[in-house]
């Protein structure tokens, strides 16, 4: 359809295509041009070829020298008086179609020369409060003419407000113990850096749960990474609370260099989470270093559980597997509690910092809660433990508010399922990049994290998303993140969460794996700010553990986008089709604006090609 002058301006850098037949001699005006919004579909269906096509800003006002039919791309050979292209304005662009990504970062700042003395330069900043004694300006000279462009800076200068002081509302100390060897022995113990696990503990695991039919424990050292494994159900840190410390506060002891890894099948040999599972050689199916995955070099205490036939896709099967496996972890935890302080190799203090006066943001993390094997245990007594936790499904998937430190202290014991590339393992929360970035970002005030389950039934999805909306409203948040794991069914409530928050006037950045295979099935007008967690080359769920989960680079983009959205800056709409370049452009924009380097993580291309991947995904 023909476009208006306004649309033409918004699409100045998009291809110029005649909407209708136009005769030689006419002057090109917006009414002659087709709306670029539909080009992707046209190109896909072969109706349009944009090779050599000029942009809208280049052709407006030019004279057509040849009669051309509808849908003819305007090229230099049919026009007189083509204008030179301008440099495209750097606006962050949404990354996911129907939604798209990051708004431009930085508000440039304003050198103010009032009497030649005061100079303020704010490289990047939002909501900056400055207190300047008027006398300092030499008799009350006007503080400044702040160019409109720097709206943010203007905000800051205008009302003399008090500088918000950082407030530490909680601390969590992590004491690290290093483990360099794991072996079996008569009792579970830690001596120096050697962890010994009691021989025969397997029987205890099997005896613990009726549904657990068999169990095998393997110690996977780096030399054994090329070992075949059933699907990886979870990766967990080995951590315990010290003394009376509660989860999310006090002291947590954690073992470095080793992780718990739960794998499993049912008695019939069917993978738990078959139809999207990560079985195969470990080194071909694990994306090293993802927040939820093992790091290369770590030792895996890998338990393979066999559960009762056909309970692999029922809720009780995986629950039994996780519960039984925790017997081993708990036995290690008990040993850890008694370790001598002298073995501590590193102490890390995590602070929950509130920043009154800064833009208040909240993180909403959608977790799976459809039942079957999709569930999460929330808030166990021990980090990523079982005891004391409530199953998300049993809680009715309703929002549960937690502190950022509770998240980082393992308040989620994840029962992940089908689609390993985009699911968040327990370890993911322990190292949750968005929580860490937001917590450390001095420009925002992270008030907390809300976990909300993703129920199976649509009516329940909207039930919980309305709770999310009201919760965020009560928080008086200035901005929100909504993250999800997986794709497809959960995108319905993901979209609804964003809508419920967005309709309350709170800009909301959505984060999900989308790309090609996970393209959103639903959308709404509040989904204007989207960050795609995809890392895979082809934009697909390729069953590589953790491949498409939220990483630091995604968190950085989401923060930049939310800041832009909260500052009222434009975030360009996403392209209709997934285009990985949008992400790299956004990363460059952010690097330019902040003067930092964002290290991008790799993807499955770095791994040896598995037979399954070769057959199914290439």
């Amino acid at each position: 359809m023909s476009i208006t002058a306004e649309t033409a301006k918004a699409h100045a850098h998009d291809p110029a295509v005649l909407c209708c037949r136009a005769e030689a001699g006419i002057t090109i005006e917006p009414a002659n041009l087709e709306d670029p919004a539909i080009f992707d579909d046209l190109v896909d269906s072969g109706l349009l070829n944009l090779d050599g096509c000029l942009t809208i800003e280049e052709v407006l006002g030019a004279k057509l020298t040849k009669t051309c039919d509808s849908l003819a791309p305007l090229t230099a050979d049919v026009l007189d008086g083509v204008k030179a292209p301008s440099v495209s304005a750097p606006a962050v662009e949404e990354e996911v179609a129907e939604e798209a990504p990051v708004a431009a970062a930085p508000a440039a700042a304003v050198p103010v020369a009032a009497g030649g003395v005061l100079k303020i330069h704010i490289g990047e900043g939002k909501d900056i409060d400055l207190q300047i004694p008027v006398g300092a300006l030499g008799g009350g000279a006007a503080v400044a003419e702040v160019p409109a462009a720097a709206a943010v800076a203007a905000d800051a200068v205008a009302p003399a407000a008090t500088v918000g002081e950082e407030k530490i509302v909680g601390t969590l100390t992590r004491k690290h113990f290093n483990i360099t060897e794991v072996k079996r022995g008569p009792e579970t113990k830690i001596e120096g850096t050697v962890l010994t696990i009691r021989e025969g503990i397997e029987a205890d695991v099997i005896a613990d749960q009726e549904l657990v039919k068999d169990f095998k424990l393997e110690i996977i050292t780096p030399e054994l990474y090329h070992t075949y494994s059933e699907t990886v159900m979870d990766v967990q840190p080995i951590a315990t609370k010290e003394g009376d410390s509660e989860l999310g506060s006090g002291v947590t002891r954690v073992l470095d260099g080793v992780v718990m890894m739960l794998t499993g099948v049912d008695e019939g040999g069917v993978q738990i989470g078959e139809f999207g599972s990560s079985e195969g050689y470990l080194d071909e199916n694990i994306m090293w270093g993802r927040p939820g995955c093992p790091d290369k070099g770590e030792i895996f205490i890998k338990g393979n559980i066999v559960i009762q036939e056909k309970t692999n896709m029922e809720r009780r099967g995986p629950m039994a597997a996780h519960t039984a496996f925790d017997i081993i972890t708990q036995e290690i935890r008990e040993v850890m509690k008694k370790l001598d302080e002298s073995l501590v190799v590193d102490t890390q203090e995590l602070k929950s910092i509130r920043r009154p006066g800064k833009k208040k943001v909240v993180i909403v993390k959608e977790i799976m809660g459809q039942g079957a094997m999709h569930d999460n245990f929330i808030l166990p007594v021990e980090p990523v433990g079982i005891l004391g936790a409530r199953a998300n499904v049993d809680l009715g998937n309703v929002p549960v508010c937690v502190s950022p430190l509770e998240v980082l202290d393992g308040c989620i014991h994840a029962l992940t399922c089908i689609g390993p590339a985009s699911k968040e393992m327990s370890r993911h929360y322990w190292r949750e990049p968005l929580v860490l970035e937001a917590l450390h970002d001095e420009e925002v005030d992270l008030c907390g994290v809300i976990f909300v389950g993703s129920p199976q039934i649509n009516a329940e999805k909207f039930y919980v998303s309305r709770r999310v909306g009201h919760t965020v409203e009560m928080l008086d948040a200035d901005g929100a993140f909504v993250t999800t794991e997986g794709f497809g069914n959960n995108h319905i409530d993901f979209a609804s969460h964003i809508e419920q928050i967005g309709m309350r006037g709170v800009p909301t950045v959505g984060m999900s794996y989308c790309a090609v295979q996970g393209a959103l099935v639903v959308g709404n007008k509040y989904m204007q700010y989207m960050v795609d967690n995809n890392k895979s080359e082809a934009g697909i769920e390729n069953e590589i553990l953790g491949n498409n989960t939220l990483c630091p680079e995604d968190a950085v983009r989401a923060l930049a986008m939310l800041k832009a959205a909260m500052a009222g800056e434009d975030v360009k709409a996403a392209e209709k089709k997934w285009n990985p370049n949008v992400k790299s452009t956004n990363v460059e924009l952010i690097e330019g604006a902040y003067g930092t380097k964002i290290d991008l993580v790799g993807n499955e291309q770095e791994l040896p090609m598995s037979e399954k991947r070769r057959l199914k995904y290439s």
Binding site: S2, R21, E29, D35, L47, S70, L71
Partner: protein, 468 residues
């Protein structure tokens, strides 16, 4: 001849009220119904006797003898020309039926130029002025509905009367200029006009390309004056009044002969015995039945699809018993409809063709199943339920998005009612997307031997030189 039926509503506005009753003797020109609101007088078109007065019509049994004499309109000696036009019950005979006495009741010399919307007038300079002192009468001689020929025939045969009517219009409205808008393909009529206008310096011609629509009121203004009006604006916004040429002739008759508006010129054409050439009938008594006119033209040749009253684009289906009115321009008998065997059909409704009801009727007659309805972006509904008006008649706004909708809705066929330019655009993507395209006028075009509306092969611009 059979009974004559005078509909009480033959114009824009409220139905008239009958002032005769069953048994009354009437003559040609006897006033039989008068307006109750916006409207125009209705006169008997024949000698005869009123047999019945119903809610919507007066039925007259004609006498054997039908002399040419008529009862002149009843106006005082000193009646103004405008009063005579009003009294004679003249309405817009091009099809719209707006009461002419009301349309001409304007002093163009004192009518200010309306505000022109820059969005649809991008090329107009800021200091644009019309090339006239007072105002224009624009004579619509486009005869745009394909297949009709009675308008052009009237120029060829009654050019003087038409010009007299135009001059009366200029006098009544204080216009200082007049322009005939006529398609360049009508060479004989143009030559006739050219000769007649040699002695009329205030009256000129503007030649139109042979595309649809050119006769839409605002298209006439745009073509003649270069000004695009919004769908809410009347031609008076461009200091103009648009008058159909047949209406102009009726104005001349009302003033010169005190003749009431009781006859109509029309074209009967289509699947008729003796071929599909045009049968032009001049001065047919209003109220004559469709069936009688078809018989006069030779009768229907075998099986037929439908009978259309009016033009192929804007006309409606009718039947043998229906009477013609002051606004009837055509009676078109069509070939049979193709059978789509219940296939999925999308309708592209626009202001140029039939409304959605008419499109659905055609689809039903083709045995298609409507699964998707789109509306041309430029078809504006000024008020809810009002007839659609095109924002820029004859200049397409793009149609590919509609085709995408049809494709998505799984249409196999689409039926479009678009103008030449929009039809061309539909064809640029529809068939490539696998949509089979019908135009709502196809069955009429096949019946009158006119090319189907698909791709546009002629320019929308013609030179104004009379170079033939």
């Amino acid at each position: 001849m059979g009974n004559v039926q005078m509909l009480l509503r033959q114009h824009v506005g409220a139905p008239c009220a009958a002032i005769v009753k069953a048994g009354d003797e009437v003559k040609k020109g006897t006033l039989i119904a008068t307006p109750t609101g916006l409207g125009a007088n209705i006169f008997s078109s024949v000698y005869g006797k009123v047999t019945e007065v119903t809610d919507d019509r007066i039925i007259i049994e004609p006498s054997e003898e039908q002399p040419d004499e008529f009862v002149p309109i009843d106006v005082p000696e000193d009646a103004s020309k405008l009063d005579m036009v009003k009294a004679a019950g003249v309405v817009g005979l091009g099809g719209a039926g707006f009461p002419t006495g009301i349309k001409l009741n304007i002093n163009l010399a004192e009518t200010p130029m309306g505000e022109l919307d820059p969005e649809i007038n991008p090329e107009l300079p800021a200091d644009f002025k019309l090339d006239c002192e007072k105002g224009y009468i624009l004579i619509n001689a486009a005869e745009c509905e394909p297949g009709l020929e009675h308008n052009i025939r009237q120029i060829e045969e009654q050019c003087d009367k038409v010009i007299r009517g135009v001059k009366y219009c200029m006098e009544i409205t204080n216009a200082d200029k007049a322009i005939f808008a006529i398609k360049k393909k009508n060479q004989k009529a143009i030559k006739t006009l050219q000769k007649a206008l040699e002695s009329e310096p205030a009256i000129s011609m503007h030649l139109l390309p042979d595309i649809y629509p050119m006769g839409e009121e605002r298209a006439v203004v745009r073509e003649c004056l270069g000004v695009n009006l919004t769908t809410m604006q009347l031609p008076s916004a461009a200091k103009s009044v648009v008058v159909n040429l047949e209406t102009a002739a009726k104005i001349a008759e009302a003033i010169d002969e005190k003749k009431p508006c009781i006859t109509k010129n029309l074209t009967v054409r289509g699947k008729l015995n003796g071929g599909n050439g045009a049968h032009v009938f001049m001065d047919v008594p209003v109220g004559t039945s469709v069936g009688e006119l078809i018989e006069r033209a030779g009768g229907i040749d075998g099986k037929y699809g439908e009978i259309v009253m009016g033009g192929a684009f804007t006309g409606k289906s009718t039947d043998f018993d229906a009477p013609i009115t002051k606004t009837t321009g055509g009676i078109l008998v069509t070939v049979e409809f193709p059978d789509l065997h219940g296939a999925n059909v999308g309708l592209l409704v626009c202001a140029c063709g039939g409304n959605e009801d008419r499109m659905r009727e055609i689809c039903e007659k083709m045995n298609g199943k409507v699964v998707s309805v789109a509306r041309c972006k430029q078809a504006i509904e000024n008020k809810p339920g009002a007839p659609l008006k095109c924002l820029r008649p004859g200049n397409c706004p793009g149609q590919v998005k509609n085709n995408m909708q049809f494709k998505k809705d799984k249409c196999e066929y689409i039926i479009i009612g678009n103008c030449s330019d929009c039809s061309n655009t539909v064809m640029a993507s529809g068939p490539k997307m696998g949509l089979k395209v019908f135009h709502q006028t196809d069955h009429v075009m096949r019946s009158v031997g006119h090319a189907l509306y698909r791709t546009l092969k002629v320019s929308k611009q013609v030179s104004q030189d009379i170079d033939f």
